[in-house]
Protein backbone atom coordinates (compact mmCIF):
# COMPACT_ATOMS: atom_id res chain seq x y z
CA UNK A 1 0.00 0.00 0.00
CA UNK A 2 1.10 3.54 -0.64
CA UNK A 3 1.38 6.05 2.16
CA UNK A 4 -0.93 8.90 1.30
CA UNK A 5 -0.98 10.94 4.50
CA UNK A 6 1.86 11.74 6.86
CA UNK A 7 3.27 14.51 9.02
CA UNK A 8 4.47 17.43 6.87
CA UNK A 9 8.24 17.97 6.86
CA UNK A 10 7.87 21.54 8.05
CA UNK A 11 6.08 20.45 11.24
CA UNK A 12 8.58 19.54 13.94
CA UNK A 13 7.94 16.20 15.61
CA UNK A 14 7.29 17.79 19.00
CA UNK A 15 4.00 16.61 20.53
CA UNK A 16 1.51 19.49 20.64
CA UNK A 17 0.90 21.08 24.01
CA UNK A 18 -2.60 22.07 22.88
CA UNK A 19 -5.73 20.62 24.48
CA UNK A 20 -7.46 17.57 22.98
CA UNK A 21 -9.51 18.72 20.02
CA UNK A 22 -7.92 22.17 19.81
CA UNK A 23 -8.13 23.86 16.44
CA UNK A 24 -4.53 25.13 16.65
CA UNK A 25 -3.19 21.64 16.18
CA UNK A 26 -5.10 21.10 12.94
CA UNK A 27 -4.29 24.59 11.71
CA UNK A 28 -0.57 24.23 12.42
CA UNK A 29 -0.52 21.09 10.31
CA UNK A 30 -2.32 22.83 7.45
CA UNK A 31 0.13 25.74 7.45
CA UNK A 32 3.08 23.34 7.54
CA UNK A 33 1.61 21.37 4.64
CA UNK A 34 1.28 24.58 2.64
CA UNK A 35 4.86 25.62 3.35
CA UNK A 36 5.99 22.18 2.16
CA UNK A 37 3.82 22.28 -0.97
CA UNK A 38 4.99 25.78 -1.91
CA UNK A 39 8.59 24.85 -1.00
CA UNK A 40 9.02 28.13 0.86
CA UNK A 41 10.55 26.97 4.15
CA UNK A 42 13.75 28.72 3.13
CA UNK A 43 12.14 32.15 2.81
CA UNK A 44 9.38 32.07 5.41
CA UNK A 45 9.40 34.12 8.59
CA UNK A 46 6.52 33.65 11.01
CA UNK A 47 5.33 35.66 13.97
CA UNK A 48 3.42 33.79 16.69
CA UNK A 49 0.98 35.50 19.07
CA UNK A 50 0.79 35.80 22.80
CA UNK A 51 -1.80 33.15 23.51
CA UNK A 52 -1.97 29.38 23.41
CA UNK A 53 0.03 29.43 20.18
CA UNK A 54 2.87 31.46 21.71
CA UNK A 55 4.90 28.28 21.41
CA UNK A 56 4.20 27.94 17.70
CA UNK A 57 7.95 28.08 17.11
CA UNK A 58 8.19 24.65 18.74
CA UNK A 59 6.18 23.29 15.82
CA UNK A 60 6.87 25.30 12.65
CA UNK A 61 10.32 24.61 11.28
CA UNK A 62 10.80 28.12 9.93
CA UNK A 63 12.48 31.29 11.24
CA UNK A 64 10.21 32.85 13.82
CA UNK A 65 10.29 35.95 16.01
CA UNK A 66 8.15 36.16 19.11
CA UNK A 67 5.90 39.18 19.49
CA UNK A 68 4.37 41.04 22.41
CA UNK A 69 0.60 40.59 22.63
CA UNK A 70 -1.08 42.23 19.68
CA UNK A 71 2.01 43.63 18.00
CA UNK A 72 2.35 40.89 15.39
CA UNK A 73 1.31 43.00 12.41
CA UNK A 74 3.73 45.79 13.37
CA UNK A 75 6.61 43.33 13.76
CA UNK A 76 5.62 41.67 10.48
CA UNK A 77 5.65 45.11 8.83
CA UNK A 78 9.22 45.67 10.00
CA UNK A 79 10.28 42.19 8.89
CA UNK A 80 8.68 42.44 5.44
CA UNK A 81 9.88 45.99 4.76
CA UNK A 82 13.43 44.96 5.65
CA UNK A 83 13.24 41.62 3.77
CA UNK A 84 10.62 41.97 1.03
CA UNK A 85 11.76 38.70 -0.57
CA UNK A 86 10.57 36.72 2.46
CA UNK A 87 7.12 35.22 2.95
CA UNK A 88 5.95 36.77 6.20
CA UNK A 89 2.94 35.60 8.16
CA UNK A 90 1.40 36.34 11.53
CA UNK A 91 -0.57 33.72 13.41
CA UNK A 92 -2.84 35.44 15.91
CA UNK A 93 -5.79 34.78 18.20
CA UNK A 94 -8.87 36.95 18.50
CA UNK A 95 -7.52 39.07 21.37
CA UNK A 96 -4.12 39.42 19.77
CA UNK A 97 -5.48 40.62 16.44
CA UNK A 98 -8.58 42.56 17.44
CA UNK A 99 -8.34 43.70 21.03
CA UNK A 100 -4.87 44.86 21.96
CA UNK A 101 -3.62 44.56 18.38
CA UNK A 102 -6.47 46.38 16.65
CA UNK A 103 -4.44 49.43 15.64
CA UNK A 104 -1.49 47.42 14.38
CA UNK A 105 -3.72 45.06 12.41
CA UNK A 106 -5.92 47.74 10.92
CA UNK A 107 -3.05 49.93 9.86
CA UNK A 108 -1.03 47.07 8.38
CA UNK A 109 -4.11 46.24 6.31
CA UNK A 110 -4.64 49.88 5.46
CA UNK A 111 -1.09 50.20 4.22
CA UNK A 112 -1.59 47.07 2.15
CA UNK A 113 1.38 45.44 3.86
CA UNK A 114 2.44 42.39 1.88
CA UNK A 115 1.94 40.04 4.80
CA UNK A 116 -0.57 37.30 5.56
CA UNK A 117 -2.40 37.12 8.87
CA UNK A 118 -3.94 33.87 10.05
CA UNK A 119 -6.57 34.85 12.58
CA UNK A 120 -7.68 32.03 14.87
CA UNK A 121 -11.11 32.91 16.23
CA UNK A 122 -12.37 30.80 19.11
CA UNK A 123 -14.41 33.53 20.81
CA UNK A 124 -12.47 33.35 24.09
CA UNK A 125 -9.07 34.09 25.57
CA UNK A 126 -7.86 30.51 25.75
CA UNK A 127 -4.45 30.63 27.36
CA UNK A 128 -5.42 32.84 30.25
CA UNK A 129 -8.39 30.68 31.20
CA UNK A 130 -11.40 31.56 29.07
CA UNK A 131 -12.06 35.26 29.50
CA UNK A 132 -14.24 37.31 27.19
CA UNK A 133 -12.73 38.12 23.83
CA UNK A 134 -13.69 40.77 21.26
CA UNK A 135 -15.38 37.97 19.33
CA UNK A 136 -17.30 36.49 22.26
CA UNK A 137 -20.93 36.24 21.18
CA UNK A 138 -23.92 37.84 22.89
CA UNK A 139 -25.13 35.59 25.68
CA UNK A 140 -21.91 33.58 25.65
CA UNK A 141 -20.65 32.92 29.17
CA UNK A 142 -16.95 33.33 29.83
CA UNK A 143 -14.93 33.78 33.00
CA UNK A 144 -15.23 37.59 32.72
CA UNK A 145 -18.77 37.58 31.36
CA UNK A 146 -20.33 35.13 33.77
CA UNK A 147 -23.87 36.36 33.02
CA UNK A 148 -23.35 36.01 29.32
CA UNK A 149 -22.15 38.86 27.11
CA UNK A 150 -24.62 41.75 27.31
CA UNK A 151 -24.68 44.28 24.51
CA UNK A 152 -25.37 47.23 26.81
CA UNK A 153 -22.46 46.44 29.11
CA UNK A 154 -19.88 44.61 27.03
CA UNK A 155 -20.75 45.67 23.52
CA UNK A 156 -21.03 43.40 20.52
CA UNK A 157 -18.82 40.72 19.02
CA UNK A 158 -16.28 42.58 16.91
CA UNK A 159 -16.08 41.53 13.30
CA UNK A 160 -12.66 42.93 12.51
CA UNK A 161 -12.53 40.83 9.35
CA UNK A 162 -15.56 42.64 7.98
CA UNK A 163 -14.03 46.01 8.83
CA UNK A 164 -10.75 45.17 7.15
CA UNK A 165 -12.49 43.93 4.03
CA UNK A 166 -13.51 47.54 3.45
CA UNK A 167 -9.95 48.81 3.29
CA UNK A 168 -8.43 49.35 -0.15
CA UNK A 169 -5.10 47.97 1.09
CA UNK A 170 -6.65 44.62 1.95
CA UNK A 171 -6.35 42.26 -1.02
CA UNK A 172 -7.78 38.99 0.26
CA UNK A 173 -10.09 38.71 3.24
CA UNK A 174 -11.81 35.43 3.98
CA UNK A 175 -13.48 33.61 6.83
CA UNK A 176 -13.38 29.83 7.08
CA UNK A 177 -14.17 27.18 9.67
CA UNK A 178 -12.63 23.93 10.89
CA UNK A 179 -15.98 22.32 11.63
CA UNK A 180 -15.81 19.41 9.16
CA UNK A 181 -13.21 17.72 6.97
CA UNK A 182 -14.55 19.58 3.94
CA UNK A 183 -14.23 22.88 5.77
CA UNK A 184 -10.73 21.97 6.95
CA UNK A 185 -9.81 21.50 3.29
CA UNK A 186 -11.40 24.83 2.42
CA UNK A 187 -9.39 26.47 5.21
CA UNK A 188 -6.21 25.07 3.76
CA UNK A 189 -7.08 26.42 0.32
CA UNK A 190 -7.80 29.84 1.81
CA UNK A 191 -4.50 30.02 3.66
CA UNK A 192 -2.69 28.85 0.54
CA UNK A 193 -4.34 31.65 -1.39
CA UNK A 194 -3.37 34.10 1.35
CA UNK A 195 0.27 33.16 0.78
CA UNK A 196 -0.13 33.34 -3.02
CA UNK A 197 -1.65 36.81 -2.76
CA UNK A 198 1.43 37.92 -0.82
CA UNK A 199 3.78 36.42 -3.43
CA UNK A 200 1.85 38.27 -6.12
CA UNK A 201 2.31 41.53 -4.24
CA UNK A 202 -1.40 42.34 -4.23
CA UNK A 203 -1.82 43.53 -0.65
CA UNK A 204 -2.73 42.42 2.85
CA UNK A 205 -4.26 38.97 3.27
CA UNK A 206 -6.39 38.02 6.27
CA UNK A 207 -7.77 34.54 6.85
CA UNK A 208 -10.08 34.23 9.84
CA UNK A 209 -10.47 30.60 10.92
CA UNK A 210 -13.29 29.66 13.28
CA UNK A 211 -11.65 27.23 15.65
CA UNK A 212 -12.86 25.34 18.72
CA UNK A 213 -11.70 25.72 22.30
CA UNK A 214 -13.22 22.65 23.98
CA UNK A 215 -11.63 23.38 27.33
CA UNK A 216 -12.98 26.89 27.79
CA UNK A 217 -16.26 26.19 26.01
CA UNK A 218 -16.66 23.28 28.41
CA UNK A 219 -17.64 20.94 25.63
CA UNK A 220 -16.15 17.70 24.37
CA UNK A 221 -14.02 17.91 21.24
CA UNK A 222 -16.71 16.46 19.02
CA UNK A 223 -19.35 18.74 20.60
CA UNK A 224 -17.15 21.80 20.13
CA UNK A 225 -16.71 21.12 16.42
CA UNK A 226 -20.49 20.87 16.23
CA UNK A 227 -20.75 24.19 18.09
CA UNK A 228 -18.60 25.75 15.36
CA UNK A 229 -21.09 24.74 12.71
CA UNK A 230 -24.31 25.24 14.68
CA UNK A 231 -23.52 28.43 16.57
CA UNK A 232 -20.32 30.22 15.58
CA UNK A 233 -20.85 30.01 11.85
CA UNK A 234 -24.23 31.69 12.26
CA UNK A 235 -22.61 34.72 13.89
CA UNK A 236 -19.36 34.70 11.94
CA UNK A 237 -20.50 33.67 8.49
CA UNK A 238 -17.80 31.90 6.48
CA UNK A 239 -17.12 33.19 3.01
CA UNK A 240 -14.87 35.35 0.90
CA UNK A 241 -15.31 38.97 1.93
CA UNK A 242 -12.83 40.37 -0.52
CA UNK A 243 -10.66 38.97 -3.28
CA UNK A 244 -8.80 41.55 -5.29
CA UNK A 245 -7.39 38.89 -7.61
CA UNK A 246 -10.93 38.19 -8.82
CA UNK A 247 -11.70 41.88 -9.18
CA UNK A 248 -8.63 42.41 -11.30
CA UNK A 249 -9.40 39.41 -13.50
Amino acid sequence: MKKIFARPACLKANPFHYCPGCGHSILHRLVAEIIDEMDIRGITIGIPPAGCAVLAYNYFDVDMVESAHGRGCAIATGVKRARPECLVFTYQGDGDISAIGTAETLHAANRGELITSIFVNNAVYGMTGGQMAPTTMLGQKTSTSPYGRRAKVEGYPLKITDLIANLPGAAYVVRTSLATPAKVNATKKAIRKGFDIQRQGLGYALIEVLSPCPTNWKLSSVESFKYLEDVMEKEFVPGVLKDISKEKA
Partner: protein, 71 residues
Amino acid sequence: MAVNGMITIDKSLCKACELCISVCPEGAIQLSDEINTKGYHPAEFIKERCKGCSLCALMCPEVAIEVYRER
Protein backbone atom coordinates in the same frame (compact mmCIF):
# COMPACT_ATOMS: atom_id res chain seq x y z
CA MET B 1 -13.67 -1.98 -7.46
CA ALA B 2 -13.32 -1.72 -3.70
CA VAL B 3 -10.39 0.33 -2.46
CA ASN B 4 -8.56 -0.99 0.56
CA GLY B 5 -6.88 1.20 3.05
CA MET B 6 -5.13 1.13 6.36
CA ILE B 7 -4.12 3.60 9.03
CA THR B 8 -1.53 3.60 11.77
CA ILE B 9 -2.20 5.56 14.94
CA ASP B 10 0.67 6.76 17.13
CA LYS B 11 -0.95 5.95 20.44
CA SER B 12 1.55 8.00 22.43
CA LEU B 13 0.31 11.17 20.71
CA CYS B 14 -3.42 10.45 20.90
CA LYS B 15 -5.48 12.58 23.31
CA ALA B 16 -8.73 10.68 22.74
CA CYS B 17 -10.56 13.65 21.28
CA GLU B 18 -12.57 11.19 19.17
CA LEU B 19 -12.70 13.44 16.11
CA CYS B 20 -11.35 10.62 13.97
CA ILE B 21 -14.10 8.33 15.22
CA SER B 22 -16.76 10.95 14.53
CA VAL B 23 -15.74 11.42 10.88
CA CYS B 24 -14.84 7.85 9.92
CA PRO B 25 -17.50 6.66 7.42
CA GLU B 26 -16.58 2.99 7.97
CA GLY B 27 -16.57 2.90 11.77
CA ALA B 28 -12.98 1.66 11.56
CA ILE B 29 -11.73 3.43 14.69
CA GLN B 30 -12.63 3.03 18.33
CA LEU B 31 -11.15 4.05 21.69
CA SER B 32 -9.04 1.28 23.15
CA ASP B 33 -9.03 0.00 26.71
CA GLU B 34 -5.35 0.69 27.21
CA ILE B 35 -4.10 3.94 28.75
CA ASN B 36 -1.21 5.85 27.20
CA THR B 37 1.46 7.82 29.03
CA LYS B 38 -0.69 10.96 28.83
CA GLY B 39 -3.51 9.16 30.63
CA TYR B 40 -5.87 8.87 27.67
CA HIS B 41 -7.52 5.85 26.10
CA PRO B 42 -5.97 6.18 22.68
CA ALA B 43 -7.88 5.52 19.49
CA GLU B 44 -7.19 2.22 17.78
CA PHE B 45 -7.74 1.02 14.26
CA ILE B 46 -10.23 -1.77 13.58
CA LYS B 47 -8.83 -3.45 10.50
CA GLU B 48 -10.71 -4.62 7.40
CA ARG B 49 -13.05 -1.65 7.36
CA CYS B 50 -10.81 1.10 5.99
CA LYS B 51 -11.04 2.61 2.53
CA GLY B 52 -8.11 5.00 2.98
CA CYS B 53 -10.31 8.11 2.70
CA SER B 54 -8.02 10.04 5.12
CA LEU B 55 -10.84 11.92 6.83
CA CYS B 56 -9.50 10.73 10.20
CA ALA B 57 -6.00 12.02 9.49
CA LEU B 58 -7.42 15.28 8.20
CA MET B 59 -9.19 15.92 11.50
CA CYS B 60 -6.62 14.44 13.89
CA PRO B 61 -5.18 17.42 15.76
CA GLU B 62 -2.13 15.49 16.95
CA VAL B 63 -0.96 14.32 13.49
CA ALA B 64 -1.06 10.87 15.03
CA ILE B 65 -2.49 9.11 11.99
CA GLU B 66 -0.77 7.97 8.84
CA VAL B 67 -2.89 6.66 6.01
CA TYR B 68 -2.10 3.98 3.45
CA ARG B 69 -4.13 3.12 0.39
CA GLU B 70 -4.02 0.30 -2.10
CA ARG B 71 -3.51 1.37 -5.71
